[in-house]
Symmetry: C2
Subunit: 334 residues, 2 copies
C-alpha cells in the first residue's frame, strides 16, 4: 500500500495476532491455525510486507541467501553454469552470491570465509581448486555444501557430477579408432576433480586401445586460452609426432588450436583436437571444435536444486551422473 517498509509488528497489529504468529506464517512453520495463516498471509500481501532478510539473518544466525563459488567467471562454462544456477534459485525466491576465485586457492578460501561472515549456510562449489583435505574442512563449515565435479565426498556433502571419465574415454577411443597414435592430453589443475577423472579416462582409453601411456604426452595447463596455447609449445618440444590432442576443456582446446596453428600444424590433417564442455563458441571457432559435450545449464540447475532441497530439509538423492556426449566437428577430422 504505502511506500513505507512494514515490519512484522505492523502486520501483527493489523492482523490482531502476535509477532511470532506472523513470523511463523511467513516462514511456513507449524504452530499456526489454517484460518489465521490465511488471514495473516492476506494482510501481509495487502500491506506489501516483505520480511527483512538482514534481520532474519541476524536473529536466526542464518542468511537466506546462498552462494556459488567458481574459479573463472570469464570461462563460458562457468558463467553459463552460474546463470542457470542463479535462475533456479530465483525461481524459488532466493538470492545468490556468485564468487569468482580466479583459479587461486587463496581466494577460494577467502571466499568461504567471506560467505561465513555473511552467515550464508548453503553453497554450490563448482570445480574447487582446493586440496581434498582443505575442501572437506571448508565444506563442513556450511550447513549445506554442494560440490560440483569434486572428488571430495562425505556425510553432509552433496555431490553433483559429470561422468568425465566416460566422456574422455570415448574421445580417446574415437581418436584411436581414426588411426591417431600419439594422443596427447592437456590436463587441468591438479586439485580439480574433473581434471583427475579426465586424466583417468584418458589413461583408460589408451589402455583399451592398446596404446601405452606416455607421461611425456601429458601436460598440465592453466585452463584458459593462454594456457592452452602454451601447452602446445611444451608438448611439441617433448614429442614432435603428436597427432591428436585432447584438452581439459574447450577454452584450453581453443588455445591449443591457436598454438598448433602458430606451430604450423594442420588441423585436423596433422593433429586432431578435442575439447570438453561444448561452450557455444566451440562450434564457431576455426576449425570448429570437436568436444565432449556437457549439458551445462542442466548441471547448474541440478546443483542449485540439490542445494535448495537440502535447505528445505529434503533428503538429497545423488541421482545419476550427467552423461557427456562426444560431438564431432572439424577439429577432429570428423
Amino acid at each position: 500500500m504505502s511506500k513505507e517498509r512494514h515490519t512484522v509488528e505492523d502486520v501483527a497489529r493489523e492482523a490482531g495476532v502476535s509477532l511470532m504468529t506472523v513470523s511463523r506464517t511467513m516462514n511456513g512453520r507449524p504452530g499456526v491455525g489454517e484460518e489465521t495463516r490465511r488471514r495473516v498471509l492476506e494482510i501481509a500481501a495487502r500491506m506489501g510486507y516483505r520480511p527483512s532478510p538482514v534481520a532474519r539473518g541476524l536473529a536466526s544466525r542464518r542468511a537466506s541467501s546462498l552462494g556459488i563459488v567458481l574459479p573463472d567467471l570469464a570461462n563460458p562454462f562457468f558463467s553459463i553454469l552460474a546463470k542457470a544456477a542463479v535462475d533456479e534459485a530465483r525461481g524459488r525466491g532466493v538470492n545468490v552470491f556468485i564468487i569468482n576465485t580466479d583459479e587461486r586457492p587463496s581466494l577460494e578460501r577467502a571466499a568461504y570465509a567471506s560467505l561465513r561472515e555473511e552467515r550464508i549456510a548453503g553453497v554450490v562449489v563448482a570445480a574447487s581448486r582446493l586440496p581434498a583435505r582443505h575442501l572437506r574442512e571448508e565444506a563442513a563449515s556450511f550447513d549445506w555444501p554442494v560440490l560440483v565435479n569434486s572428488l571430495v565426498t562425505g556425510a553432509g556433502i552433496a555431490n553433483v557430477d559429470v561422468d568425465d571419465e566416460a566422456g574422455i574415454f570415448e574421445a580417446v577411443s574415437h581418436l584411436l579408432g581414426a588411426g591417431r597414435r600419439h594422443v596427447a592430453f592437456v590436463a587441468g589443475p591438479r586439485e580439480s576433480g574433473s581434471a583427475r577423472r579426465r586424466v583417468a579416462g584418458y589413461k583408460a582409453g589408451l589402455a583399451a586401445g592398446g596404446i601405452a601411456f606416455d607421461p611425456e604426452l601429458l601436460v598440465r595447463a592453466k585452463p584458459d586460452i593462454e594456457g592452452g596455447m602454451r601447452s602446445v609449445v611444451a608438448l611439441l618440444s617433448r614429442e614432435r609426432r603428436i597427432d591428436a590432442v585432447i584438452a581439459h576443456n574447450d577454452i584450453t582446446a581453443i588455445g591449443v588450436l591457436r598454438g598448433l596453428e602458430a606451430a604450423g600444424r594442420g588441423i585436423p590433417s596433422d593433429v586432431a583436437v578435442i575439447g570438453v564442455d561444448d561452450i557455444p563458441y566451440a562450434a564457431l571457432v576455426r576449425p570448429s571444435l570437436s568436444t565432449v559435450r556437457i549439458d551445462i545449464p542442466e548441471l547448474g540447475r541440478r546443483a542449485m536444486a540439490a542445494l535448495l532441497d537440502l535447505r528445505d530439509g529434503k533428503v538429497f538423492e545423488p541421482g545419476p551422473c550427467l552423461r557427456p556426449e562426444l560431438v564431432l566437428r572439424e577439429s577432429s577430422g570428423g
Copy 2:
C-alpha cells in the same frame, strides 16, 4: 585465536573500552584517540575479530555488500565486466551480489527490489533494459547508483560510459571507405543506452559518407547469437543488396555471420560484418570478426571504482568516456 566468533563486546572487554569505541575504530570513524585506536586494532587482530556484516547491516540500515545488475551473464562481455568489477571490489574488501536479469525488464525491477531488501546501498547497473523514467526512479532508491552505458543521468547518479557513437561512426566510415554502399545495422534493445548511441553513430557515419539513412536497413534483435541469426533473415527479406552489416555487439555479429553463411552469402566477399566489444571469441570465429573494441575489464573496474569512491564519500568525477577502437579482421575484408 580460538575458533569462536568474537563480538564487539569481547573486544571491548579485552581492550577495556566501550562497545562504541570498538565500533568507531573498526569503521575508521573519528572520535577515537590515536593510541586507543591502535590498541583496539591490535587486540581485534589478535583475537581474529571480524565485524558481522549482517548485524552491521541491520543496525546501520545499510549493507556492506554492493550489487551489480546485468542483462546476460552468458554474454562474455558481461561476464568479463562482472569479473573485473568484482575483483576491484574484492581488492577493497567488499562483496558483490551479481544479478542477471536475462534481458527482462521485469526481472531487472525484481533485482532492484531484492537488492533493496538486502539493504544494499550501492549498485553498478550495466546496460539497463528499463525505460529512462523507471531506471531513474530505481536508481534514486539507492544511495550510490552507478550506471554503465546508460542515457539516464542526474544528480546523485554516476555514469561510466563508452563512446559508442564514435566507435560505430568509425566502423561505418571504414565500410563506406572500402566501397560498401548498403550498410545495414542490427540494433540492440530499444531501452539500452548503448543501443541508442550506436544507432546514432550509424546514422552519423552514413551522413558523413553521403549515404542516406534507409530505415529498411535497420533492424532490432535480441543481443545474442540467436538474435543475430534471425536478424539476417529479416534484413535479406527487405533488401537483397546489403553488402555490409554492423551489429550491436559481438555475439549478435557472430549470429549474423552464421545467418549470412546459411543464406549463402560470402563473408567478406558479398557482405562485410563488424561487431562491437571484441570479446575473446571475436578473434577466433570463422571468419574472424572485425569489431569495435572496448576495454571491458577497464570498464568494469572504472564502474566499481566509482561506486567504491562514492561509498567512501569521495566526489565522483566522470572522467573521459572510454574510447573504443576499430579492430579489423577477416569479416570486414580488412
